[in-house]
């Protein structure tokens, strides 16, 4: 039996919940939550913790040294570091418009990296 602690971010209460997980990886018990939405969030967060990655990438041929980017959908939390190292290699060249795909299918996840600002010379 393993215990995992997750803080719920559903409301300002920030309930500190504890999940008991059996050796199959199934959640057998959750304690510490105060509402059913919180319970749902925490369960989902345990099973599939995902995050939107926001970052900057370098540019070339632009007065602006960096372009802010994001993943258009969340990716697995565990892959954030790997994703960051992929982004280091990218260079954006103007013109770029907000929403433009900079790198499709990041880490074969089906998620694209898109620009969140315009880039001019």
């Amino acid at each position: 039996m393993v215990e995992e602690k997750i803080v719920c971010i559903g409301c300002p209460l920030g309930c500190r919940t504890t999940l008991r997980i059996d050796h199959h990886g199934d959640v057998v018990k959750i304690t510490g939550y105060k509402c059913k939405e919180g319970r749902q969030y925490v369960l989902e967060e345990y099973r599939n913790p995902v995050r939107i990655l926001t970052a900057t990438i370098r540019t070339e041929k632009s007065r602006r040294p960096l372009l802010p980017v994001r993943t258009n959908r969340p990716i697995l939390k565990s892959r954030l570091k790997e994703a960051t190292l992929i982004l280091v290699r990218l260079k954006a060249k103007p013109p770029v418009k907000v929403g433009q795909v900079i790198l499709p299918n990041l880490l074969k996840s089906g998620v694209d990296v898109i620009a969140t600002d315009d880039l001019f010379e």
Partner: protein
């Protein structure tokens, strides 16, 4: 590194070294001034309280002391000097607060002593008049002694003005130059610096907190100095109009001076707590800050911690601390010919004009030939301060150079044009820009303007932004370029 040769080497670019340089530039002959830091006035000068004794403070001093005489002789010189150098000088007057009869009788004694010396204009102010003159100060004061002559200046601007005028008139100056060794030859000194050797005939040792260290290099430390640390706080400009005079309260405990004064830039400054400390340790402890605030609240009770936008500690070098009000060092060495040391402690700024003349006289006695420089120009024009100019002139300035229309420091309204001008005049660091233009001295303390100032410095100096420092040497601001740390992990 080229071999440098000069007649007079001035060690130290604080207010005293700079004043000597300017004074010597009235005469022909080679003068070189070297300064350890990246800009001028960064030692004791910049932590000064900005007050110029115009006679009043000498009430406290013993008139028989050398230092008092220097201050006295400087009185007629300071205002014209500031006008010539185009640096601020503002007569605000001083109110020495009287809280009880004991203080009253003390001040009466001091006043009569001053009058015997020929110092006039002091007046006792009663409680009602005091209320009218300064409605915001403590109700505890039953009156005050008013000295109308006390003025305020900006010591770093004054120092830079002196340096620039000296340079205009032929003096060579070098920053980031540190003295390593001095050896005595037959008729000259061989000085080793981190930037190469310098041969010179005369040395003026004006090295502030290192004056005794430099003197030791030629075995001429025939004086002992004690570093005394004072604490200065700067208050938000919003309070600027609330106090009009320099206000002084007698210390309750020895070593706790208590001064609150307007500054030439519209802030209020307060100064407090003087205590012996390890030289170079400019750190401010929590306890000192607490005492400082407690003390200044005795003068201005409505002050809160929130009103302090910045605070710092600075050093004064004192001689014979145990004696109380003490002597200063302005002397030719007893052991080494043509070696003059100067260190005044408090009030160095006020005494500078006369001290410079005295040093010149000492040099003459040591054999320096003083031939008047007919081409001496006493007038130096300061770079324009955009937010002090009338609108018509602001428009003209922008029309001439559009960078004056780009405001970079919003708290002090400092334009890019002024920053570029400061760089042209020798600033190479963030602090250099701060002291010369005030960018970064406002209530946000550089939060908004720092990235922009760094960019301008890099551009004008032709350097990458990561080479820009806060105050020279290893004080770089930006250690890594974006993604460099990540690339190292690839």
């Amino acid at each position: 590194m080229a071999q440098m040769e000069t007649e007079v080497l001035i060690i130290g670019g604080g207010v005293l070294g700079a004043a000597v340089a300017r004074e010597l530039s009235r005469y022909k002959g080679d003068v070189l001034l070297v300064e350890k830091e990246a800009d001028f006035g960064w030692g004791s000068t910049k932590t000064n309280m900005c007050i110029v004794c115009q006679g009043g403070d000498t009430l406290e001093f013993r008139p028989e002391y050398h230092r008092s005489k220097l201050v006295w002789d400087s009185i007629p010189l300071m205002e014209p000097l500031c006008q010539e150098l185009d640096v601020p000088f503002k007569k605000v007057g001083e109110l020495a607060l009287i809280r009880n009869n004991e203080e009253l009788s003390k001040f009466q004694k001091l006043k009569s002593r001053a009058e015997k010396l020929g110092l006039t204009g002091h007046q006792f102010i009663d409680q009602d008049s005091l209320r009218q003159m300064e409605p915001n100060i403590t109700r505890e004061a039953i009156g005050a002694l008013h000295d109308p002559h006390i003025a305020i200046v900006d010591p770093v601007r004054l120092t830079i003005g002196l340096i620039e005028n000296a340079s205009q008139n032929g003096v060579k100056v070098m920053t980031e130059t540190e003295i390593l060794r001095i050896s005595r030859e037959a008729n000259q000194f061989e000085v080793e610096t981190n930037r190469g050797p310098v041969k010179c005939r005369f040395i003026v040792n004006a090295a502030g907190t290192s004056v005794d260290k430099i003197a030791r290099l030629v075995n001429s430390d025939d004086f002992v100095l004690y570093p005394i640390r004072g604490y200065v706080g700067i208050l938000d400009k919003n309070l600027g109009g609330l106090i009009k005079h320099e206000i002084h309260m007698r210390p309750d405990a020895p070593g706790q001076m208590n001064i609150l004064t307007p500054s030439v830039h519209g802030n209020l400054f307060f100064g407090t707590t003087m205590q012996p400390a390890l030289r170079g340790d400019c750190s401010v402890t929590g306890r000192i800050a607490e005492i400082g605030l407690q003390n200044v609240r005795k003068i201005f009770p409505d002050l809160s911690e929130k009103d302090i936008i910045h605070s710092f500690a600075g050093f004064l070098m004192f001689r014979n601390w145990e004696v109380g009000w003490h002597e200063c060092v302005v002397q030719a060495s007893q052991k080494v010919p043509r070696f003059i040391s100067i260190c005044i402690g408090y009030p160095g700024v006020s005494a500078a004009p006369a001290a410079a003349r005295e040093v010149t006289e000492l040099l003459r006695r040591e054999g320096l030939r003083l031939e008047t420089n007919e081409r001496f120009i006493p007038i130096r024009k300061a770079p324009p301060v955009f937010n002090e100019l009338p609108e018509e002139q602001q428009k003209k300035l922008i029309a001439k150079d559009s960078r004056y229309g780009h405001v970079v420091c919003r708290c002090e309204t400092v334009s890019e044009g002024e920053i570029v001008e400061a760089i042209r005049h020798g600033a190479t660091t963030l602090d250099g820009i701060k002291f010369r233009t005030r960018a970064g001295m406002g209530r946000c303390q550089g939060g908004f303007c720092t990235p922009r100032v760094v960019k301008i410095l890099a551009r004008e100096l032709g350097l990458s932004e990561e080479k820009i420092t806060k105050k020279g040497r290893e004080s770089r601001l930006l250690l890594y370029k974006s993604k460099d740390l990540l690339e190292a992990q690839l």
